[in-house]
Structure formats: C-alpha cells, structure tokens
Symmetry: C2
Subunit: 338 residues, 2 copies
C-alpha cells in the first residue's frame, strides 16, 4: 500500500542507498539519477518513514516543548513563537500539555524523551516546585538532553534558563504606584511559583525602598477565572480590606479588578489604579485599557531557541539569561512619563 524506499529504488532502477542519498540531499548523486529518483517518488506518492529515519539517524531534529496548559493565552503565545523559531532553524517541535499534576508532568516528560527529542523546553514557572526533590525528574532528564527553562531557573548541570526580570518589573511598577501616592497596593498572584515569588519579592522590595511596611493582608492568592476573580476582589473589599491600587500577576485578574471597580463605581485610576501582567490582548480589550507589564514572550522564545542553537553548535552558553520587561502604560494608572 504505502510505498517505501525499496519501491522507489525499484521503480527508479537504482539501489536504496542512492534513493537515501537523494532523500538526504547528498552531493554524490548524478543529476540524471536524481531526477529519475524524484520522478519515482512523485509517482508513488512516497513519504519517507520518520520512524525509520529517526532510528537510523539517532535523532530527527525535534525539540520537546512542555507547558502546563496551552489554552492559557500567555503560554499559547510562547508555544507559538517557540515553534515558529524552531522551525526557522530546521527543528520540529513536539508539544505536551502536562497540566499541573506532578505525576503527569513526569509521565509526559518521559514520553518526550522516548520520542528521542534533542532537547527539552519547559515553558512557564509552574514547572518548578518549591520542594527541590519534586524537581528531580527535570534534573534527571537533563542527563539525557539539554533542558531549557522559560521563565524559571534551576541551577543544575545541563539546565539553562531564559527569563524575564519580573523582580525589577514589579519593583518598578510598585515604586511608581507609591510615588503617585498609593500606599495600599493589593498584590494578586496565581500560585507559588518561581516567577510568582520573584514578583512578590519585587513588590516587597519597593516598599522597603520607600521605607514602608507591607500589610500582609494585601497579598492575596486570586482565582484566575474572570467571574470568580471579580467576586474574590469584591469579597476582599466588602470585608473591609482597603486598597487604592492593584498589581495583578496576570492580566485577567487586572481585568477583574477593573470590573470590580466599575461595579462599585470606583473611579479608575483616581480611586483605584491597576497594573496587570503579560500585556496580553485582554489588557487592551478592557475598558479602560489596563496598564500592563510586558514580559516579552516573543523575545523570550527567540532567545530560548537561540540559546539552544548555540548549544547545539557546541558553543558556550550562559546558564541564565535575563530579559528586562517593559511597562506599557494605559488608562488604569497615571504614572508620570519616564
């Protein structure tokens, strides 16, 4: 049924080695032969079997990408840019959405390794657990292939990181809020993750710099779903928690804050200033549009792939690259121009 290399070689009247040479663009084939082979391939509708090639070659230039959830706008973007960039460099990618369970992550990582990927890219800080032994499976994987972490860092051999400077970005945004007169800044985060912690540290640092105390009640873990996070923020407000600004670790929560403000007729940004994170399309869609920290997914993705290519080329590569974030001001803050 499906044609293989033997069928092609028979039809073209050459040996399979020659067909293979044509397939791989080897120089040592005469033009006439090459044409005969191409014709035979076309006629038979031949598609080389990637399994056999992979087995023979030991690799098929594919990179395993793992993220927790590709329906998340941010991760989807990252994956998109990664895939695009990889392909530009002649690599395929194999995507796995692992969800948030440790066991599934382990299992999927094993799956990727079994596919003989040449490297692994783990996207998102949700891959780093705060308990070191829960990251052991990543360290183990790094014994087989290089591992690139995007938005997370782990100081182990053969593990490289490309991340956004969330710490300074949040520190700067918080500082700007303080400078524009805000003292009660609600900090909303999604979960305890590497970048979540960085952001929080930036928040604290800004307060420290201004010699202000942090009210721990202002640091809240917030649900992601819009309807829920609106209710959550309103709940805090109704319980008497006072705040005059919000920094959210995801745009969707910032949008929630906007909706909450509207529901209570709080004026934005006068009575409530809001800063989001990721600078996704959500921030633009909101009304008023949300000021957001742009952590530059595309730059991160491109850099990640570049690092990998450097590594493959045998060059030395820094274990950790930090990219600075941009603050995109829109209508939910009135920071003075830089």
């Amino acid at each position: 049924m499906k044609a293989n290399i033997y069928d092609v070689s028979t039809k073209a009247g050459v040996s399979i080695a020659t067909v293979s040479r044509v397939l791989n663009g080897s120089a040592n084939v005469s033009d006439k032969t090459r044409e005969k082979v191409h014709a035979a391939m076309l006629e038979l509708g031949y598609t080389p079997n990637a399994f056999a090639r992979g087995l023979g070659l030991g690799s098929m230039n594919t990179i395993g990408i793992m993220c927790s959830d590709s329906s998340d706008t941010y991760l989807a973007n990252a994956v998109y840019h990664l895939e695009h960039e990889l392909r530009k460099n002649g690599y395929d990618s194999f995507l796995c959405c692992s969800g948030y369970e440790l066991e599934t992550k382990k299992q999927y990582l094993k799956l990727l390794l079994s596919k003989q990927v040449d490297a692994l890219i783990l996207v998102g800080s949700s891959f780093l657990d705060m308990t070191p032994e829960n990251n052991q499976y990543i360290v183990d994987a790094a014994q087989q292939v290089p591992v690139m972490l995007m938005n997370a860092a782990l100081d182990k051999p053969n593990i490289y990181s490309v991340l956004c400077d969330d710490f300074h970005a949040v520190k700067h945004a918080t500082s700007s809020l303080i400078q524009t007169g805000h003292r009660r800044i609600l900090f909303l985060y999604k979960s305890h993750s590497y970048s979540g912690n960085e952001k929080l540290a930036g928040y604290r640092k800004a307060f420290k710099k201004h010699q202000l105390e942090v009210d721990e009640r202002l640091i809240q873990r917030c649900p992601k779903k819009l309807s829920e996070n609106i209710r959550f923020i309103a709940g805090l407000y109704d319980m008497g928690l006072e705040f005059d600004a919000v920094i959210a670790s995801e745009d969707i929560m910032a949008v929630g804050a906007v909706k909450f403000a509207k529901s209570r007729s709080l004026r934005i940004p006068d009575e409530l200033s809001i800063v989001g994170f990721n600078n996704s399309v959500l921030a633009e869609c909101s009304e008023p549009a949300v000021t957001s920290i742009d952590n530059r997914v595309e730059a991160l993705s491109v850099t990640t792939v570049n690092q990998l290519m450097q590594l493959f080329a045998g060059r030395d590569v820094p274990q950790k690259i930090m990219i600075s974030a941009d603050l995109v001001q829109r209508a939910t803050t009135n920071f003075p121009p830089a």
Copy 2:
C-alpha cells in the same frame, strides 16, 4: 550511554522479547520476571526508543493536528481540548502551525504524514480554499489516513467534518437584531473561508426572511488586530456609512466595535448593538461585555476525537456532524429572552 532493550535484558538476565513483553504489558510474563525487568529498567534509567517502537509497530498512536496559528485564542483552545481528549483515549498528538500559505500547509502536512500519524485533524476553516484544486493535497492525504476537518467541510472519501452551525447561529442573531428594530447591520468578517461564507449566508438569509434588502456596503472585511479594527470601523463611520448594529465573525472585532462606539459616545446597545463570535474571554473582558455566539470549541473537539475513535474501532461514522451554537447574551444587545 543511553540504555537500550539489550542492556535491560542483560541486566535482568532475560531475553529482549521478555523485556518487550513487560514494556507492552503483555500478560504472558511471570510476576517474578516482570519485577526483575522493572528493576533493571529503573536502574538503567531506560527510556524506550519511540522510533524503534514505531517502526516495529507501524504506528505509535499519534494524531497529527494542524492549525494555522496556535496563538489565536480560539484555535489554541481547540488544540488544547483536542490534545486533552486524544490523550484520554491513549493517543499522542503532533501539532503543526502551518500559517496561512498554501505551500507551507502542504509541506507541513507532508511532515505530519512522514511521522506516521494515524489520522489528521485540521482545525479551522482556513484550511479550505475556495479554489478546489488548492484542496487537492488534503484529498491526497486522505488516501493515507483519515482526515478530520474541524469547522470546515469537504465532501471527499475518508474526509470527515465536525462543525458548528454557523449559518443558523448568525441567521438567528441577525434575525434577533432585525426584530429589535435594527436595519443597518454591519457584518464584519475576517476572510473568505468556509465558515466565513456560512456566516455571511446566515446573515443574508435573515434579511431575506424579513423581506429586507441587504446593503452590500455593510459587508466588510475587517482587520483582526484591535488597534487596526477600531480604526477600520471608525473609518467606515466617518465615510458616512450608517449602521445601528454590528455582527462580527470574531470577538476581537466586536471589542473593536465597542471601543469605536465609546470613542464616538454612541450608547450601547441603544445606538449600537454588537454581537461577537466565539464567546472567548475577550467578550467577557470587554466593557460592556459583548454578546457572543458560542461555537462550542470544547464540544467540537470532543466530538471530533470521538468520531475518530469510532472510525478506528471500525464503526461507521457520519461524514459530517453539525453542532448547534449558543447565543450568550451580554450587555451589547437587548434581545428579548428566548
């Protein structure tokens, strides 16, 4: 370096056939042997080589998924649900983002076939060109493996479709707008695609039903990017095109319409009613939140995978399944309750 099945068999003191049996969960292995083998695998950090397995088995239970652009919210969601559902059924997926160029599409489809996928899922109506010969490459692929189209239809052997009833959804929404007094309904579409045409046909049908003429100037191709589509809509308005309602084939355009209305102080929904499409999170984030047609990505994805599983089980499967859409009313329309 990397352990293979021979290493395991040596270490466990059994033949490779037995190791293979353990690997594949075959029943004919004694418990004692199974344990020995497992221990050896663990000790060697053995990961089976998927290329070799695939070569031996002829297939590795993987499905090729192709979409134009996984950074698109809608497609990202579709891909997410597809992957999830496939995995539930024991299948891996291989994702390719083809972009919008015909040549790239062909090339990537070939790539997927070379990976020996057991089936292809093409997501999104952008895969069907209006020129039939440009779809030939899909028809060809269907000779090798079943092809599932999500949100598109092509009546050819071994090609199956799962789609949303965009026609009736738009017809109904348009009708509702007409019934609530609107006559000048701007129809914004992204491109000439299968579902784009269906939507437009629904629009026309509604006018016909109410014995009204369609003003062709109200049918406009609109850019997708928010900043651009706001400008585009404003441009139409400034050129003197009158409209009292908008139906957009994507939520992002509906959000653009909202932003436009605000910029001109048009009251929503009184002076301008707006209906979006996809019921994405954007529709919720907008202020006022946008009424949107929910074309039920998850249901589509689940159905697509189910169809495929039926097919693999050798059962008869309808060539085309239509799923009806929901209209989710929010603040940009005032349709009477159903």
